[in-house]
Amino acid sequence: MDYLIAVLTIAGISIIMALSFYLPFITGQISLAQAGFMAIGAYGSAICTVKFGIPYVPALVIGGIFAGIVGFILGIPALRIKGIYLLLLTLGFGEIVRVAGINIAYVGAAAGFPGIPYQKYSIVYAYAMVVILVIFFHRLRRSRVGRAFQAIGSDETAAEILGVNIVSAKLLAFSVGAVIAGIGGGIFAHYAEYIEPLMFDVMHGVEFIVFAIFGGIQIFWGPIFGALFLTLLPEFLRVIEHWRFELYGALLILMMIIRPQGVIGLDTVHALRKLFGKAVGRKGT
């Protein structure tokens, strides 16, 4: 039972991280920085609880806001860069955060930050956050802002001549994505009780991208599915644990060949909706 809770907690945090990648992704911004924002949220909230005695939930929020501010600052140069260059910029940022963590004595430097107060209901908070995010993305999809985000991701030029302020929309998506990652980091820190820079390195950033792209990029259920599936799978097939990144690589190649939109697509949602009536999704299309 304890084991199940442990696995589900990590799965829940993975879902939050996959969704934090997905939000800027909708606007066409592919970010490898989410692990870095997670680190800022983790360290930020840990500093709040450990050094200042701030309670758990406010500490999470502060960690998230702090990550959001850094996301906003990083988001500004990111506006001008696309595709692979943005990937490099965000990768560089992630590395800066990691190296900063190794060198700042206040947060324990390379030895890490121990003694974070354990939150025994981490799983509850993690999935409460997941529920909040589901409502958020669901409302976003059928909203003016959500349509603008999708439009920017689809055709930035056309979106702009229709009156969409590309700069503020992309910045908004990028910053809020960072906030979400920061909150995920805070929940993680108070579950793991100990954090160190290596836990937030580039490869973790890559994992979140894999969750989202494998799971499905057409709708927010995709990253949720991807994170759940790829976090739980190693628990059922132990051997996979050692070959995790090889598996990710193989899965991605397979998906790009047979189903580039990922496992969960709009067609999946429509089919499920037909089966279950109103249980999945709401009115409209």
């Binding site: 409502i135 958020f136 409302r139 976003l140 059928r142 909203s143 003016r144 802002v145 959500g146 349509r147 603008a148 999708q150 439009a151 689809s154 055709d155 030029t157 056309a158 979106a159 702009e160 001549i161 229709l162 009156g163 969409v164 302020n165 590309i166 908004l172 809020v176 057409q218 009115k283 299309t285």
Partner: protein, 253 residues
């Protein structure tokens, strides 16, 4: 004059795409811009839209200078546009595409979208959808509202793009080669659509290679060649203008 292009010059590095072009577009007219390929017509549209910045010169819309305004601000002021190659949002439905035309006319932000207790639809959202459906009916594509935009044939995609631009409530509509790739029946439908739009009071600025359409529907025609305006007038005048004929057909030997 709803649009005044004053002595507009555009250089792309060393290449001069437009040289001292001046065009005045009268409100309520259908004004065509024609010329051989490479004359600078689409560049001109991109400058009016704000996608490019002028190297020299001024552009005035409704009497105010818009030369330094970004594209999304110009849209808000009432300039709508369609493209030579259709720029629909492929992954979204036809209706969602047209609903985006309402973006600058609506204002629900992220906070209002998320932080509310009611699960009912926002009134602004309902209104957006209804107005979008209205424009889809106007172009005759209401039955395709739920289809993914990229699944429509090209002629219908163009009409969706026009509906989308109309949803913006433009006072000036820029149509870049709307008849490109259309068969005669589709072109006829398009011609009557443009007339209907103009009858509503919208000024139409039109780039067209289809001479029958351009000459048949326009009140005024400006002719560009190699980045310069070489002629301007009502269609019968332009048709017999020797410079225009030479631009298209070459000099008689």
């Amino acid at each position: 004059m709803i649009l005044q292009i004053r002595d507009v010059t555009k250089f792309f590095d060393g290449f001069c795409a437009l040289n001292g072009v001046g065009i005045e577009v009268e409100k309520g007219r259908i004004h065509a811009v024609i010329g051989p390929n490479g004359a600078g017509k689409t560049t001109l549209f991109n400058l009016i839209n704000g996608m490019y910045e002028v190297t020299r010169g001024e552009i005035l819309f409704k009497g105010h200078s818009i030369t330094d305004m970004k594209p999304h601000v110009r849209a808000k002021h009432g300039i709508g546009r369609t493209f030579q190659i259709v720029h629909l949002f492929d992954v979204m439905t036809v209706l969602e595409n047209v609903m985006l035309g309402r973006h600058c006319k609506t204002k629900t932000g992220l906070l209002k979208t998320f932080f509310r207790f009611s699960t009912r639809e926002l009134p602004e959202e309902k209104q957006t959808r209804e107005i979008a459906m209205h424009w889809l009916e106007f172009v005759g594509l209401a039955d395709k509202a739920a289809q993914v935009a990229s699944s429509l044939p090209i002629g219908e995609q163009r009409c969706v793009e026009i509906a989308r631009a109309l949803a913006l409530e433009p006072e000036l509509l820029l149509l870049d080669e709307p008849a490109a790739g259309m068969n005669p029946k589709e072109t006829m439908d398009l011609t009557s659509l443009i007339s209907k739009v103009n009858e509503m009071g919208i000024t139409v600025l039109l780039i067209e290679h289809n001479m029958e359409l351009a000459m048949g529907i326009s009140h005024v025609i400006s002719v560009l060649n190699f980045g310069e305006k070489i002629a301007e007038g009502v269609p019968p005048e332009v048709q017999v203008n020797p410079d225009v004929i030479e631009a298209y057909l070459g000099r008689k030997k």
